[in-house]
Amino acid sequence: MKDKKKQTQEETVEETVQPVEDIPEEKAPVTDEWHDRFIRLAADFDNFKKRSKAEKDAVYSNAVADAVSTLLPILDNLERAVLAVEEGPQRDGVKMVLDQALKAFESMNVTPVGEAGDPFDPQIHNAVMHVDDESLGENTIAEVLQRGYRLGEKVVRHAMVKVAN
């Protein structure tokens, strides 16, 4: 009697479990997963190649921009010197050096941006001061504190400006 009961339990258990042969089939998702990962990695690589090409193209202009921005403070100080020195041969000399420098920058396609009276544009100007002045228009540059420069279209340095109204 006792044995019979055990027998019944045994059968119930046997019926509910899956046959062992099912197990190998479960390996299929692994292959799919690896296939998916492979495809994604291939896509990643393709995008990486495209991006690398774009980055390579940008390397030259970025390097020039870096060099230019390092030299810009010297240009600034030459300008300051011209303004600070009294008129005369001293000033003329410094002025000639400044002009020479500006020409050299121009030949590298570097152009100044930001003039008093221009409308303020945060894409090329960096506002550091604000002034209320009735004589000037709305959102207009009142004073350029430090000139900005562009290399081609790229802004190498934003013009530091005082903005009115």
Partner: protein
């Protein structure tokens, strides 16, 4: 499946990163910057600006420029711009949208999922607000993780043994320190502290003040009223600070800084690192107050911290690193760009969630419990779910019937109480067990899961040393849905399963009780009179009848009654034998072994039996 981006949504700056070919990469924004200011502005014409552009126009448009919105996350504070009310979530969403757009431009594909970091001290509503911001920005936020946790992920601390880690985060305008307990893939925040108004800008200010004072000493002129000069000084101060992290001395050279009646004046000051350290010593010391507090709250001494991770741009300052080294007695960990560290960690978390990163933290656990089927169809777990692998566990089992020479080891996976409700992974037989009364043989069953999730199950008869094994590789192949369903089922059926398990156990106990009593009575032979035995034999017959039925309560009651009656005669035997100083050998065996303390379960009786 789209890529999952990791976002460090900061108070002053934000950063976005992604896993690419298994490596985290920080994505530069459209302007080329690797971090983006968390600044949002609206022009007078209603045009929206985010990041550097917004920052550059801030001073001309303060009413329509929003900075540090992170400080208001989770509050009801609203920002009113030209009659439109914006919640902190909406403003943060604009920063997130910009980061998302930059990531899409970089990847050349749509991005729709993200992991976003928050300070460890953020409460539920602040976290929810951050999640909402992501949703508004069109991002499904897969996970909100703590900034220090992200930093630890970036440094790969999770892959090491369990340890206590301090994350020292000195950013542009805020300072946070967190103590984490990292182990078994779990990141526990033990304590956090900080100063919401202390950061790199304060260090710049110290240098500026010094330069102004030096200039005044030299020239007798006060530069503080000259806005233009102060602008130049601010830039120069920040540059000097950065240079002093790499050099021991730097020169601040500002020609024509101003002019008076005597002509132009130049500022030319040499700043040594020693001087800089002296100037900023109080700031460094100010970071140590929260640091000590956090350590105290965590109940740890400086020596108990295994690692210090540096986060935030100002953690590059050598004096900060030296102070930490002095205090904790160990070199802080550097190497990962501290401005990008948190975003990198978030990207790694994204990679883990997306399956790009494997063999890391969260995957290193068994998703479901593993065990074997025991007598009556019960699922006996050997390895609980979420156990970190590799792991090895074993347990001793025994036979369920007399002269059982073979046991079947049925390996199952799942959370349900009954074996049949769980997933069957495989089965094997261990035979050649010497014939013996039930519960005598000792079969050791071992589960060994290696780092790849491959399960080896072996059964060994400790009596003969005979062993059988099975290797199961299918255990990790359950899909996320299957795992979720299994866990949900276990919760749903917990009560029902428990009842079924109890029923089986009650039956097993009854069977066992009958067996033990009959055996003992036989062994006792004529030591007891038929009269003494009668109550027990009667009750055995009664219980045998009850077991045939389905009334569990009755089976339980009759089993207990049998136990009581048997105790009585066992006492008699015991009293008789006492004078000889011997305990009846069977008195002990007759103790019902359902007290739960013995680590012995019966295997279900094998077919061959």
């Amino acid at each position: 499946m789209s890529k999952i981006i990791g976002i460090d949504l900061g108070t002053t700056n934000s950063c976005v990163a992604i896993m690419e070919g298994g490596e985290p990469v920080v994505i530069a924004n459209a302007e080329g910057g690797r971090t983006t200011p968390s600044v949002v502005a609206f022009s007078k014409s209603g045009e929206r600006m985010v990041g550097q552009v917004a920052k550059r126009q801030a001073i001309t448009n303060p009413d329509r420029t929003i900075i540090s919105i992170k400080r208001d996350m989770g509050t009801n504070k609203k920002v009113n711009i030209d009659g439109t009310e914006y919640t902190p979530e909406m403003i943060s969403a604009m920063t997130l949208q910009k980061l998302k757009a930059d990531a899409e431009a970089y990847l050349g594909e749509k991005v729709s999922q993200a992991v976003i970091t928050v300070p460890a001290y953020f409460n539920d509503s602040q976290r929810q607000a951050t999640k909402n911001a992501g949703t508004i920005a069109g991002l499904e936020v897969l996970r909100i993780i703590n900034e220090p946790t992200a930093a630890a992920l970036a440094y790969g601390v999770d892959k090491e043994s369990s340890q206590k880690v301090m994350v020292y985060d000195l950013g542009g305008g805020t300072f946070d320190v967190s103590i984490l307990d990292i182990g078994d893939g779990v990141f526990e925040v033990l304590a956090t502290n900080g100063n919401t108004r202390l950061g790199g800008d304060d260090f710049d200010k110290k240098i500026m003040d010094y330069l102004v004072a030096e200039f005044k000493k030299e020239n007798g002129l006060d530069l503080t009223n000259d806005k233009m000069a102060m602008q130049r000084l601010q830039e120069a101060a920040e540059k000097a600070k950065i240079e002093l992290s790499g050099m021991t001395s730097t020169n601040v050279n500002l020609p024509y800084i101003t002019a008076d009646a005597t002509g132009p004046k130049h500022l030319d000051v040499t700043l040594t690192r020693a001087k800089f350290n002296e100037l900023t010593a109080d700031l460094v010391e100010n970071t140590m107050i929260p640091t000590k507090k956090a350590l105290n709250d965590a109940g740890l001494s400086p020596a108990q911290i295994d690692k210090v991770l540096l986060v935030g741009g100002s953690s590059r300052i050598p004096a900060v690193q030296e102070r930490l080294k002095d205090f904790l007695g160990k070199e802080p960990h550097k190497g990962i760009n501290p401005d990008e560290c948190v975003a990198i960690g978030a990207a790694i978390q994204g990679g883990i969630l997306g399956g790009d990163v494997q063999g890391l933290v969260l995957l290193d656990v068994t998703p479901l419990s593993l065990g074997v089927e025991t007598y009556g169809g019960i699922a006996t777990k050997l390895i609980e779910r979420n156990t970190t692998i590799p792991v090895k566990k074993s347990q001793i089992f025994t036979t369920a019937a007399d002269n059982q020479t073979s046991v079947e080891v049925h390996v199952i996976q799942g959370e349900r109480e009954m074996a049949a409700d769980n997933k069957s992974l495989g089965r094997f037989h261990l035979d050649g067990i010497p014939a013996a009364p039930k519960q005598v043989p000792q079969i050791e069953v071992s589960f060994d899961i290696d780092a790849n999730g491959i399960v080896n199950v072996s059964a060994k008869d400790l009596g003969t040393g005979k062993e059988q094994k099975i290797t199961i590789t299918a255990s990790t192949n359950m899909s996320k849905e299957e795992i979720d369903k299994a866990v949900a089922d276990a919760e749903k059926f917990a009560e029902e399963d428990k009842k079924r398990r109890e029923e089986v156990e009650i039956r097993n106990n009854a069977d066992q009780m009958i067996y033990q009593c009959e055996k003992s009575m036989n062994d006792m032979g004529d030591k007891l009179s038929a009269e003494d035995k009668a109550p027990v034999t009667e009750q055995i017959e009664k219980l045998k009848e009850t077991v045939k039925g389905n009334d569990t309560a009755a089976i339980k009651a009759d089993t207990e009654e049998l136990q009581q009656r048997f105790y009585k005669i066992a006492e008699k035997i015991y009293a008789q034998q006492q004078p000889q100083g011997n305990v009846a050998p069977d008195a002990e065996a007759a103790q019902p072994n359902n007290d739960g303390t013995v680590n012995v379960d019966d295997f279900k009786v094998d077919d061959n039996d």
